[in-house]
């Protein structure tokens, strides 16, 4: 699903025009970005958590040249899916496996 499809889908659900939706999306993104800049955590129920994490500096070696580099510290935006989202995507496979296990136990 690309950006266009995403906008059309969202506009359908909210009953707005795509251009209107696009503007809202931009506003919403700017809002989230400004919060993340301030080290806030955004927890979207049923979807996941956006969090800015600080990565420490580290020494990295280029395996081909053997040169060593000092990678500076950085702030990185991380996302962790919520448990419910994980369940949703793994439900089918879980069901299949569960049934398989049941079969095995019955036998």
């Amino acid at each position: 699903m690309n950006n266009k499809e995403f906008i059309t889908e969202l506009s359908k659900r909210t009953g707005r025009t795509p251009s209107d939706t696009m503007k809202l999306i931009e506003d919403f993104e700017a809002l989230m970005t400004s919060h993340l800049e301030e080290n806030d955590t955004i927890a979207a129920m049923g979807f996941g958590t956006f969090e800015v994490k600080k990565k420490m500096e580290r020494v990295s070696v280029n395996p081909t040249t053997g040169k060593r580099y000092l990678i500076p510290p950085k702030l990185a935006l991380s996302f962790k899916q919520s448990a419910s989202l994980k369940e949703r995507f793994n439900a089918e496979t879980d069901k299949i496996e569960a049934s398989a296990e049941d079969n095995v136990s019955r036998q």
């Binding site: 809202l24 970005t33 919060h35 955590t41 979207a44 996941g48 991380s78």
Partner: protein, 468 residues
Amino acid sequence: MEKKLSVLNLAEELAEKSSITASQAEGFVRAFFDVLADGLAQDDIVKVKGWGTFKLSAVSNRESVDVNTGERIVIKGYRKVTFLPETALKDHINKPFAQFETTELNDSYSIEEETVDVEDAGLDTGALPHADEVNETFSPAAEEKPEVQEETTALEMPAGTESESETPSEYEAAADVEIKTEPEPVESAGTKAGSGEAFEPEATTEPETEITIEPESVPIPEDEPVMEETGTPEPEALKREPDNVKRTRRPRRSWHYWLPIVLLLLVSVCLYIYITFGKGFEKPKYAHAAGEKENSIKVEHVDFSDKKPNIVIKTDSPKPTPAACSATASIVHDSTQISSEEGKTLEVKTIEAVPEEAKTLEVKPAQAEPAEAKSAEAKPAQQKTNIQPARSGEKSLKDITMADTTGYVILGTKATHTVQEGETIVQLARKYYNDKRLWPYIVKHNGLKNPNSVQVGKSIAIPELKAK
């Protein structure tokens, strides 16, 4: 401002910002994330402009251990939503740290490691041949008491002269100092002969040179007519003593730990000498057996030499003991050289020519045993080198290298040489002067603190030398 924002909080703010009702905003935000989730379920990937890409990626099964039971368990693979923020968003988030850049650590690190390696090699394993010799010469001195030190230094000297080591001068200088301070040099020689067995191999390898050393060392204290020049060089030697002492002291502490290694190195070097100078190997037996006798002979030398060198020769030569043969032979060379010199004039070239021939010629008749004759022949060059400096330096063999250092005057810089890998100061001396023994001048001229470790690429000024 580290808050945890929920959808409701976001919706409130969005309502303010976009001038829509709160309920509309809440509906929009919820719809936003729902669409994301649905899109993932549908296509496994959702791209949102200005935000990033959400992807569903599979995590495969992995094994782990149950914390409680310790059993191995398999954690089932699952599908995971990963988020890759857009570059613009990344940069925006990372703004506070944007000034940092990745830096290459290569240079500083490598240099440190290299220097450390070199030092280690020099101290511990002695990767370089020269370093080996240095180790030997230093370590024994460090381990033992003054008397023993003298022995070791005396013993090592010959090895050094043979195997073109750079160290001889220092040690010989040290040896000189000790000898001077001690009332009876003869005694020290005696102790040396009966010295620890650990050093026997070295002693055996170079009996001739040892012998020559001792008789010559005696004359130092008394100024003979022939040795008139001793007056001037001695002060220099004395000046240098402190340096030498320092050098020997520094390593002492750390070398206690390396005693076993150093002993191994000593043995290996002895083997090396044996292999390279295989001809002279038979000598050791004689020299050893003769050690005690030699001492007595040496004493005689001393007494006589005080008066006149020529007499000494005669008195010595009559003594035909096989063990003493080598000793007498060397002494004979000295006497012949001295006589050929006729006084105090120092003509190196003539000396060089005379002693060599004289040695071989005289040695052969004097020795009854063929083995010794061989050895004598095998090392005319060495003896020559030993004798020459004695001439110019007008002291004992131990002084030889010191004599080298005092026999010339530094007039200026003759050339500059950029050190290549594998080069040593001694090699430079040989290259520029055709005489490796002149290396101390290069060291002195450049003020090198450690002549055994010269960095590649360093430019060395080669001094212009003039004989005094």
